[in-house]
């Protein structure tokens, strides 16, 4: 019997026979903790393994991205707990200036096809974009992985999704993932993986691969693997200095479900509050008045996303009374925006531009919304209260930029 991608990756990290549904031990390539969860990882380690020197520290990282720099004393204390522990153990820290941890793992070549990486971040599955198996876990689980370099896992089943047809601008990868979420619903991939196939994948940028993978969490899923295209390959060659060796599913791999989704001429999609799977066509909300716009997050904080926004805003001003907030995913993205003049364009258009990180997504690093405020966000969650008391709609950077320009959808 053939194997799916996730079965193959786990098999190459386990001594046991791997098959969907079985619980096995697997070795881990990289273990990380961020500023959320990280301090508890440290506390667990100090309680259960006091005075222990962690093995294999070159494959352990701290990445601060949620509240950067710390905006309250408790956050500052928590980050300092991690820094001190890291220093003692010789662990590398990507500090408050670096940006979103998962993106750094891809930029710096830690995440590669076939590797397994874990962290205290529920969107770790984003690493499926480079063919890696990323998984978010709780702080007890992560503390254990820091110490042992392994974890147990129930091998997930996989859904095969065949995307039929192609779409073009202004529809983007974000609209594609929102559409899949609309079809599958918030439990549609519960505990399962997705393998994506289809012609339209060829048209996606690497940033769009990240977007497609990042919203797996909102479908309840484990990790998604879109069939890699040339853009992904080129990115990996540049970042790792080697030709990527992607893991492909066997021809006779066993899927729990096979679905075809027609995306021919797909129109821009938007997720209405209060749930990410409450998705409609943008055109159905025409004239919705918009108060603020957030562009950023692990889902849409790449340079390509920022480029789309600045191309739409170039030479224009955001509508009167609209607050446009921009947060690059990482320092590298920020630097590239600076070099290529995007910062100037966005500044001239009237945007607020902040240092890299999770930005509006995690804990209001770049402000929250107030009651009755309507926000268009490029992030991945719009649950009530997550980004304030206002109504958050999830959309693509293109939709967000037009909303900023016009003050309405």
């Amino acid at each position: 019997m053939g194997k799916t991608i996730v079965e193959k990756i786990i098999q190459s990290h386990s001594d046991e026979k791997v098959k969907a549904g079985k619980i096995v031990w697997m070795k881990l390539d990289i273990r990380t903790a961020r500023d959320f969860g990280g301090p508890n990882v440290v506390k667990n380690l100090e309680k259960y393994y006091p005075d222990e020197r962690l093995p294999d520290v070159e494959n352990i990282l701290f990445t601060f991205d949620c509240v950067v720099p710390a905006k309250t004393i408790p956050y500052a204390n928590n980050q300092q707990i991690c820094r001190e522990f890291a220093k003692k153990q010789g662990i590398r820290v990507f500090d408050v200036d670096a940006g979103i941890g998962t993106h750094i793992l891809m930029e710096k070549g830690f995440a590669r096809p076939g590797r397994i990486l874990v962290g205290t971040d529920s969107h770790f599955n984003i690493l499926g974009a480079v063919g890696a198996f990323g998984q978010g876990m709780g702080d007890q689980d992560i503390a254990f992985t820091f110490c042992t370099g392994k974890t147990w896992f129930e091998v997930p089943e996989t859904i095969k999704i065949n995307l039929k047809g192609r779409f073009t601008f202004p529809t983007t990868g974000k609209d594609l993932v929102l559409f899949v979420l609309r079809k599958l619903g918030s439990k549609g991939a519960l505990g399962k993986c997705i393998e994506y196939y289809g012609e339209c994948l060829q048209d996606l940028s690497f940033a769009e691969y990240i977007t497609l993978c990042s919203m797996m969490t909102e479908m309840g899923g484990i990790v998604a693997f879109p069939y890699p295209n040339e853009n992904v390959t080129n990115w990996l060659i540049k970042r790792t200095g080697e030709n990527p060796e992607f893991i492909f599913a066997d021809r006779d791999a066993k899927y729990c479900n096979e679905i075809e989704i027609d995306v021919t001429d797909l129109q821009p999609q938007i997720a209405c509050p209060p749930k990410p799977d409450n998705v409609k066509e943008v055109s159905r909300l025409k004239c919705l008045k918009v108060n603020s716009v957030f562009v950023g997050s692990c889902t849409n904080g790449r340079f390509e996303d920022m480029l789309q926004v600045s191309e739409i805003l170039k030479g224009n001003k955001v509508a009167q009374g609209v607050m446009l907030r921009i947060v690059p995913a990482t320092k590298e993205v920020y630097g590239q925006m600076l070099k290529e003049g995007l910062i100037q364009v966005l500044y001239d258009a009237g945007a607020i531009i902040s240092n890299p990180g999770c930005g509006g997504c995690a804990s209001g690093q770049i402000g929250m919304t107030g009651k009755r405020e309507v926000q268009i966000s490029t992030a991945n969650r719009n649950f009530l209260g997550k980004q304030g008391d206002g109504d958050t709609y999830l959309a693509s950077p293109v939709t967000a930029a037009f909303a900023a320009l016009k003050g309405k959808l």
Binding site: K22, V24, N44, Y48, D141, L190
Partner: protein
């Protein structure tokens, strides 16, 4: 230390109208109004206090009891208290037709035996009746109950006590 692989205890059939209850979520098991509690000894008293008809479970259950429930037991949030409250009461094992994924992870990591029911003929069982189950091979003392045995991982962690003592 070798742990007992044969458990022997009185059962609680968590039922409603003579059917095992499905989709018991973590708020029914341990409601979020008690989440500030961090002392495990304080947790037991609130187990199931938000599950319709089972408010008194914590008072009536005894150390060594075994819980039997329906499908998707422990769905919902990742709160560890929803497992710890049963450990606090001395519940010996939880048998259910299926479990929420994170709940399963948490229970296994804490060394609380949770086992999936393959087949049960509910009519043949009485509340508080004694059963014997074998964690290693999944056998029971009744032809009307079949369970999945422990996976190797579950066995490893269970024998060590919990995930952390296993990792030492």
């Amino acid at each position: 230390m070798q742990k007992n692989m044969k458990l022997n205890g009185k059962i609680w059939l968590i039922t409603n109208n003579n059917n095992l209850i499905n989709d018991i979520d973590t708020d029914m098991i341990f409601h979020n109004r008690y989440l500030a509690i961090t002392d495990i000894n304080q947790m037991g008293q609130y187990a199931f206090d938000n599950l319709n008809g089972w408010k008194d479970f914590a008072k009536e259950s005894e150390k060594g009891d075994i819980i039997i429930a329906g499908k998707n037991f422990g769905s919902g949030s990742s709160r560890q208290q929803a497992v710890d409250c049963f450990i606090s009461l001395g519940i010996q094992a939880i048998l259910a037709e299926s479990f929420g994924a994170i709940y399963k992870r948490n229970a296994i990591n804490s060394g609380l035996p949770i086992l999936q029911i393959k087949k049960i003929n509910l009519q043949k069982f009485n509340q508080r009746e004694k059963i014997v189950i074998n964690l290693v091979d999944g056998s029971t003392n009744s032809e009307y109950l079949e369970i999945e045995p422990f996976s190797k991982v579950q066995l490893d962690i269970y024998q060590s006590g919990n995930l952390f003592s296993y990792g030492k």
